[in-house]
């Protein structure tokens, strides 16, 4: 798994069926990447629902959050609509898990992403990473502490 001070590998993934997002577009802003196993499973839904409520707090730190799983863009669309999510879910779908593998966040046995968080600074360098046990929603306190340490620099 990539760690603090590693360069965050760039990627381009579908955020909606007709829109792609590249990490490099976010140079100059802080980015939170939340790899998670799957849309619809209960823990993930709670985790994404939780982050959905915190967008204004992330914005205070000039940070954008994105979820990433191996689910397809259409699956993400349905999930996002059902949970009323206001941030992008990226489809690491083809080649499956390619981005997760680059970040060391892929679980080969399950064919899913692990539950891993990255906070990436404005220069595209990883500031903080954390892998949570699959069944445990990591909450947001770690993300906020990492964002706070960025501000203090």
């Amino acid at each position: 798994m990539l760690q603090k001070k590693d360069v965050a590998p760039d990627f381009t993934l579908h955020a909606t069926p007709d829109q792609k997002i590249s990490l490099s577009e976010f140079k100059g802003r802080n980015v939170i990447l939340a790899f998670y196993p799957a849309d619809w499973s209960p823990v993930c839904s709670d985790q994404m629902a939780l982050y959905n409520e915190m967008l204004k707090y992330f914005k205070q730190y000039d940070a954008e959050i994105m979820g990433i799983s191996v689910d397809s863009k259409w699956c993400h669309l349905a999930f996002s609509q059902s949970r009323n999510l206001h941030f992008p879910l990226l489809a690491d779908f083809e080649p499956k898990g390619e981005v997760a593998k680059k970040y060391g966040a892929y679980n080969e046995a399950e064919g899913e992403c692990n539950r891993v968080l990255f906070v990436i600074n404005k220069e595209g360098i990883i500031e903080w990473s954390y892998q949570s046990p699959i069944a445990i929603n990591p909450g947001a306190d770690g993300i906020l502490e990492a964002l706070e340490s960025l501000i203090k620099k």
Partner: protein, 171 residues
């Protein structure tokens, strides 16, 4: 994970306010798990209230529970008329029927000053209280509702586990 900030005089407290055992719940009035936890907490406080200080902080997930925040504001508005816990209980007891209109009806049943209540639910100070509770939860590692803290530390379990903990620790 630690509770940040610690319990202070902005919090709604029931039970024994000077007890050494302090339990904090982060809850959402529209969350079915919180609804299910409510009677267990009531029973727990009936039994152990003399040894327990119990605090409720709001953690509304407004995008999946659009009535959670209006309900939180209604409880806070009731608090201004010193009826926080009565409103808190009434909302959970009527959770399946939660609606903006129901909140007014409950305020009526509790014989609150309705004109005042209607004004108060729009007060920015109440919105700030609810936001402050939410932010406290976010910083304390709340990852869903209900989440409990026992003496400032995150408790890894639900209301039933909490009840058992109290039962075994007071035996």
């Amino acid at each position: 994970m630690l509770l940040k900030p610690a319990v202070d005089n902005h919090d709604h407290v029931q039970g024994n306010t000077t007890a050494d055992l302090i339990i904090v719940e982060f809850g959402d009035y529209q969350c079915p798990h919180c609804g299910a936890a409510h009677p267990i907490i009531k029973e727990m406080m009936n039994k152990f209230g003399s040894q327990t200080k119990f605090v409720f902080r709001n953690f509304p997930l407004t995008e999946i529970h659009p009535l959670a925040r209006p309900a939180a504001l209604a409880a806070e508005a009731a608090a201004l008329q010193n009826r926080f816990w009565e409103m808190h209980d009434a909302i959970f007891e009527h959770q399946p029927f939660l609606a903006e209109n129901l909140l007014l009806q409950l305020a009526g049943k509790l014989q609150l000053n309705i004109d005042q209540f209607r004004k108060d639910i729009h007060q920015s100070a109440l919105a700030a209280k609810v936001d402050g509770d939410f932010e406290s939860g976010m910083r304390s590692g709340v990852n869903g509702t209900p989440s409990f803290f026992v003496n400032g530390k995150k408790f890894d379990g639900g209301a039933g586990d909490l009840f058992e903990l109290l039962q075994s620790s007071t035996e």
